[in-house]
Amino acid sequence: MKYRIQSPGGEALEIEIRDRPDGRLELLRGGEALPVEVSGPEPSGALHLLAGDRSLEAWVEEGPGGKQVRVHLAGRSFTFEVLDERELLALEVESHRPARPETVQARMPGVVVDVRVAPGQAVAAGDAVLVLEAMKMQNEVTCEQGGVVAEVLVERGAAVEAGQDLIRLQPAPED
């Protein structure tokens, strides 16, 4: 299976991984094949790779929303988007379709302290649409794609759960 690993900084790495009959993996990159013995991932996320005599430990977990992979390695954390060849193909098809409506959700439980938008209002990607208070901190909730506010689903003062829908957007009309 081929994979593309993208960092938020825009760097991308492409690699092919094959299962070998002896249980090891073969990593293919730029015409070179690297046999790797893999232990894990454990339920904790612990993953250990032995490539030749090189020992590499990383703890790996799913990122928010299941799209990303977060890797903890040598005291650093990296967040990647990992796409396999099927997903890359699907993405290619998707890009030719019209934009889909976005629903802004709460990333953590909290209390709505301010609603900054009203139905009919146009918002751009990254705009703050609502303020949520959690752990004594006020946090702006932003939309990812933007569009036009179709419906505000919560009121000021409402307690919300993680993952709860807050604001429904519809795609901005095309010029």
């Binding site: 339920p43 996320g45 790779l49 929303g65 040598a74 990296f78 396999d84």
Partner: protein
């Protein structure tokens, strides 16, 4: 051998500080009583205690802040003394008084010292009288914006406008020009009135590159006050400390002596006993009193490592009437601490909630972990985001710094983001390594992209390979359901996978 100072102590707190205090109590042979809200039923501090008393629902106002419920719990459990920890009721003079009036000992300072230091203006006046340098500014509350404008002219711009009842960065404004003062006065005073029920304001000269240096003191009930070295806490974001160390790097011996003497004078002036911290701002060889924290500090551990004593033990002994006479510990080496917060530095330090799925805590030479972390622990939205602290001691600052960076490389937390990786980047930044940091440094670095800084290419590549292998082994998560972290694909090697296989004892598969 003398018996323990108290037979039973109630710890009126939660999380890592409750665990920290419980540990010392056990060392001293004291029976421990934990308290817990409904959200903390399974917390480590409850498990480590001999007894545990429920307080009420999760919100702090309905549990850890209810003085009468805490006193009732103390009475029911037969405790003779109460340790308040930090935060919650630890600097509440009325609570300290209520504890003593209930016939128990409050393991902390006298209520009157607490109220005096809690009023920033009264504290400034008391410090000036005691000969402790205070930042030039007003000593009486300002009645109006006009009065502020007049006072500022005498101090010189820029000025700091501060709330008399202040704390936590609320009601503070830097005012750079006279024409901005009136509006700033009104908004800051309103903010202070909302936050503390007290809108009184005062002015101080603005310092543009101060270091935050504080002195640990211990006082006994007989009037003896001892300074136990300085701590530097200049690595701050929005007035929240992230890295702390003992001693402050690069001070001349006479500066250290002057700071220690000023802190002892401050403590004596207010009749202080127990552990406390006198905070100073230091700039270009001068220092001024900032405020006093009348409680144990989060960062007390670095002082303990350098001075080789247990501050919580001394708080307990002092509360039981023991004297500090003969206590003269000699500092040795250097200690550093980083706070581990459940926050996402990549996302504006947004507090994170969730479950700790995987955890490996560091250990080894010179390393200490103070925390209440366990795999499986749920971090809810109710309390502070601090999970714990990682500390390291070394013969010198450089050894301590390398040990702490190594410890943070060993630390692994999955399930929610933490400030661990960010703190490691701070430790390895050349400015920090050289001890060249003021209180504005961290925010400037974050703004300019200097922190956490880019990863070396070979690490980025190794991490990308690990991500691909993980995806290859685990497969794509089936449902993008944020309520089920790690959900979807079953982890390889999980007992449920084994149990689901048909076997002679369970021929149909599924849990037997």
């Amino acid at each position: 051998m003398a018996g323990p100072p108290f037979q039973t102590v109630l710890v009126a707190n939660r999380g890592e500080i409750a665990v920290r205090i419980l540990r010392t109590c056990r060392d001293l042979g004291i029976e421990t009583v934990a308290v817990f809200s409904e959200a903390d039923r399974n917390a480590l501090h409850v498990r480590l205690a001999d007894r545990a008393e429920p307080l009420g629902p999760a919100p702090a106002a309905e549990s850890y802040l209810r003085a009468e419920v805490l006193l009732e719990a103390a009475r029911r459990s037969g405790a003779q003394a109460v340790h308040p920890g930090f935060g919650f009721l630890s600097e509440n003079a009325a609570f300290a008084r209520a504890v003593e009036e209930a016939g128990l000992r409050f393991i902390g300072p006298p209520a009157q010292a607490m109220s005096l230091m809690g009023d920033k203006l009264a504290a400034r006046r008391a410090m000036r009288e005691a000969g402790v340098p205070v930042i030039p500014g007003t000593l009486e509350p300002l009645d109006s914006a006009e009065e502020a404008v007049e006072a500022a002219a005498g101090i010189g711009f820029p000025v700091m406008l501060k709330a008399a009842a202040g704390g936590g960065g609320k009601g503070i404004r830097v005012v750079r020009r006279p024409e901005e003062l009136e509006a700033a006065f009104r908004t800051a005073s309103q903010e202070a009135a909302n936050a503390f029920g007290d809108g009184r304001m005062y002015l101080e000269r603005f310092l543009d590159h101060p270091r935050h240096i504080e002195v640990q003191i211990l006082g006994d009930r007989g009037g003896r006050v001892r300074a136990l070295g300085e701590r530097e806490c200049s690595v701050q974001r929005r007035h929240q400390k992230l890295v702390e160390e003992c001693p402050a790097p690069g001070l001349r011996p006479e500066e250290r002596r002057a700071l220690a003497e000023a802190a002892e004078a401050a403590g004596r002036a207010v009749g202080y006993s127990s552990a406390g911290t006198v905070e100073f701002l230091y700039q270009d060889g001068d220092f001024w009193f900032l405020e006093m924290n009348t409680r144990l500090q989060v960062e007390h551990g670095v002082t303990e490592m350098v001075f080789g004593l247990d501050l919580v033990e001394w708080m307990i002994r002092i509360a039981a009437g023991e004297s500090l006479e003969g206590l003269d510990p000699v500092p040795r080496g250097h200690a550093l601490e980083v706070r581990l917060n459940a926050e996402d530095p990549a996302n504006g330090f947004l507090p994170a909630t969730g479950r700790i799925e995987g955890l490996r805590l560091p250990a080894g030479p010179g390393v200490r972990v103070d925390g209440a972390l366990e795999a499986g622990l749920e971090i809810g939205p109710w309390y502070d985001s601090m999970l714990g602290k990682i500390l390291a001691w070394g013969e010198d600052r450089e050894q301590a710094r390398r040990r702490l960076a190594r410890a943070l490389e060993e630390l692994k937390v999955t399930g929610l983001p933490t400030t661990g990786p960010f703190a490691r980047a701070v430790l390895e930044h050349p400015d920090f390594a050289a001890g060249r940091v003021d209180t504005g440094w961290l925010e400037r670095q974050v703004e300019e992209g200097g922190l956490p800084g880019p990863a070396p290419a070979e690490l980025l590549e190794a991490a990308a390979l690990a991500a691909a292998v993980y995806r290859h082994r685990r497969g794509r998560r089936r449902a993008a359901d944020p309520a089920a972290p790690g959900g979807g694909a079953l982890p390889a090697g999980s007992p449920w996978v084994l149990a689901a296989r048909p076997s002679p004892w369970n021929p149909l598969g599924g849990p037997s």
